[in-house]
């Protein structure tokens, strides 16, 4: 184990995988500028600064992947993915199927998002659910430095196109990271961050920490919360969520992305279709609002799910054990705004 930031863990994963497999290629606006050591060790042919043109970066990755390379592209911020949407959704996601399996598309797309830096809606937009909805793609969004390393390595080795989302605010958080170059984290496996019997808190990325803090506070008040970090959004670890739910009977899903047709909707739907009998209370979604992210610190903070809101929701659910019929707002957005 080494202590390092998530950013360093990602860098280490890139380095190890480039070392391991000569087909791995890194492309993007500034990747060579920002990672001079990789240029030094692997050469300019494999670490390529690109023109400022996301569509061709992604398209080139698709073409290269179909030809047997394993490109990793850095498209910087998630909203810029909109320029690469055709290559990702219509080409990478569909052409394996349409070709009847003749080609594979082992490529990884990196993109940052998330609140905390006041970069506003054209740099911060948690749109991971769009890619979960699209067929043929894998989607991951880790919360710990170890997972940043492990999931990036898995994504690079995966034969499918994978979107790797980085919650910006986590990049400089530190943690223990396995040194082992063979360490990887499987796709489709959630991490149980804390066990408990009363309520299941499901989350991913930065809001896992919110849930952990909430669980801590709940514990102090006699409520045992279980915290699940999805980390892989597609494939989704349905089994772990359902198993927890069968134990606790109560579910709160928390994420920064907005609620409508988001991951929390998917988890809630999963719960009510496959663990209906186990449910002892309404499922609560605590998500970002149906609004772009504002630059102003005051508004950005107001948009983010807060520990308090999670704690309050859990209390309500415990109270609600008899299905008391209190209609809960399904989107506890702007949860820290006095309602």
């Amino acid at each position: 184990m080494i202590h390092m930031t998530a950013a360093d863990a990602m860098h280490l994963a890139l380095r190890e995988e480039m070392q391991r497999d000569p087909r791995v290629l890194l492309m993007g606006e500034g990747v060579a500028t920002k990672r001079p050591d990789l240029v030094r060790d692997f050469g300019t042919a494999r670490v390529r600064n690109t023109p400022l043109a996301e569509a061709i970066i992604a398209g080139t990755a698709v073409g290269a992947a179909a030809s047997g390379l394993r490109p990793v592209i850095d498209l910087l911020f998630a909203p810029f993915l909109t320029y690469a949407m055709d290559a990702l959704v219509n080409s990478a996601g569909k052409l394996r199927y349409l070709s009847g399996g003749q080609f594979e598309f082992p490529l990884v797309t990196l993109a940052m998002t998330g609140s905390g830096c006041c970069v506003c809606a054209q740099h911060n937009h948690n749109l991971e659910a769009m890619f979960v909805h699209a067929p043929g793609l894998h989607v991951v969004m880790p919360s710990t430095p170890a997972d940043f390393k492990g999931l990036l390595k898995t994504a690079i080795r995966d034969a499918n196109p994978t979107l790797f989302f980085t919650d910006m605010a986590l990049l400089y958080q530190e943690g223990e990271v396995p040194e082992d170059a063979d360490y990887s984290v499987p796709l489709g496996k959630a991490a149980m961050r804390r066990t408990g019997t009363d309520v299941t808190l499901v989350s991913y990325a930065k809001t896992v920490n919110v849930c952990m803090q909430a669980a801590e506070q709940l514990h102090a008040q006699g409520i045992a919360a279980e915290v699940i970090d999805l980390r892989s959004l597609k494939p989704l670890d349905e089994a772990t969520v359902l198993q927890s739910l069968r134990k606790t009977g109560r579910l709160i899903v928390v994420h920064e992305a907005s609620g409508l047709c988001g991951i929390a909707a998917e988890i809630a739907a999963l719960a009510v279709s496959q663990a209906f009998d186990a449910l002892r209370a309404p499922v609560v979604r605590i998500t970002g609002p149906d609004a772009p992210s504002a630059s102003s610190w005051a508004l950005e903070q107001a948009a983010v799910p807060q520990t308090d809101a999670v704690v309050r929701a859990a209390f309500d659910l415990m109270q609600d054990a008899q299905h008391s019929g209190v209609a809960m707002r399904h989107e506890r957005t702007a949860a820290n705004i006095p309602a």
């Binding site: 061709i56 080139t60 698709v62 390379l69 055709d86 009847g100």
Partner: protein, 324 residues
């Protein structure tokens, strides 16, 4: 005029006839309820002239109007037709239909019907060739030819693709079949100039603009371009001026087409021209051509039978191939 030339032209004519017959068969099938297709009628010389200039180690990307490129490359009309009809013996197991057929064994990969997507993916294929690292390519020294239309040249990705290919010095041949139409919109309604080459030249890429209905001219230009790409490692651009003789898609009554323009181009039908040239040469007689036409018809009839006899994919395979 050498015997080789005549032989080459005869072979090219046969391929062009095969393409025409194939497309006409699909038109007939569409009338009976099969899915519609975008035919390449009128553009056969473009496909044959360029593809004949390529080698097996080269790669091809194409688009919604791909049958000519595939057939010129040697793809089997049986399996193509099975694909169009959604049958399991198609090159893509019936998943693709006519619009995105790829055939790995012929190096025809990444066909997309999103106009411009072929341009987006082509640099990556050429990059793999250049790097010689791809499993698929093994540093064979091949080049990539990407076929696209005048419409695709209006998409922004055209600019991005050219810039990347030029700047990264990719072994990439851009082949623009400027057939004057972009679905139901005439080229003149979409751009000020009549040539796509002007845009290409702005990128400093070596560019030729030739008569796309003259298979000899196309073949000569393509051969030169391919040779230069191999020699220099730099991309080249080829604009083939041609015309879409049928509608955009079957069925399409072409009511929006100026009849005099259509007539002008019908008179320049690349197959008629080549046929006439061969007869005029004095080296080929009508009987030879009629025998050729019969061979082609037989192949298409066999393809039809094959396709129609081919099974539907099993519904269980609905999600096969989505993920690796």
């Amino acid at each position: 005029m050498t015997a080789t030339t005549i032989h080459t032209r005869l072979h090219q004519l046969e391929t062009m006839l095969l393409i025409r017959a194939y497309e006409e068969q699909l038109v007939a099938l569409q009338r009976q309820g099969a899915p519609g297709t975008c035919t390449s009628v009128g553009q056969e010389a473009c496909a044959v002239g360029v593809v004949d200039a390529l080698e097996a180690r080269d790669r091809i990307l194409t688009n919604h109007r791909s049958a000519a490129h595939l057939l010129a490359r040697g793809a089997d009309p049986k399996r193509l037709m099975a694909e169009v009809l959604g049958r399991v013996d198609g090159y893509c197991g019936g998943h693709s239909g006519s619009l995105h057929i790829s055939a790995r064994e012929f190096g025809v990969l990444l066909t997309s019907t999103i106009v411009g997507a072929e341009l987006s993916m082509a640099p990556g294929v050429a990059l793999a060739q250049k790097l010689g690292q791809g499993q698929f390519d093994n540093g064979s020294g091949g080049i990539t030819a990407v076929f696209f239309g005048d419409g695709a040249a209006c998409e922004g990705i055209f600019h991005e693709s050219l810039n990347l290919a030029v700047h990264w010095q990719l072994p990439l041949l851009f082949v623009c079949e400027n057939n004057q139409w972009q679905a139901f919109v005439h080229r003149r309604e979409t751009m000020a100039d009549e040539a796509i080459s002007a845009w290409a030249r702005g990128h400093g890429i070596a560019t030729q603009r030739v008569d796309g209905n003259d298979v000899e001219a196309v073949h000569a230009a393509a051969s030169q371009a391919v040779a230069e790409i191999r020699a220099t490692g730099q991309p080249q651009f080829l604009e083939l001026v041609t015309y879409r003789l049928r509608g955009h898609f079957e069925p399409d009554d072409q009511a929006y087409v100026d009849p005099s323009e259509l007539k002008h181009w019908q008179a320049r039908d690349p197959i008629h021209t080549l046929r006439a040239w061969l007869l005029d040469s004095g080296h080929v007689d009508v009987a030879t051509l009629e025998a050729m036409e019969r061979r082609v018809r037989t192949r298409i009839a066999e393809a039809m039978q094959f396709a129609q006899a081919s099974a539907w994919p099993e519904p269980e395979t609905l999600t096969t191939y989505v993920y690796a």
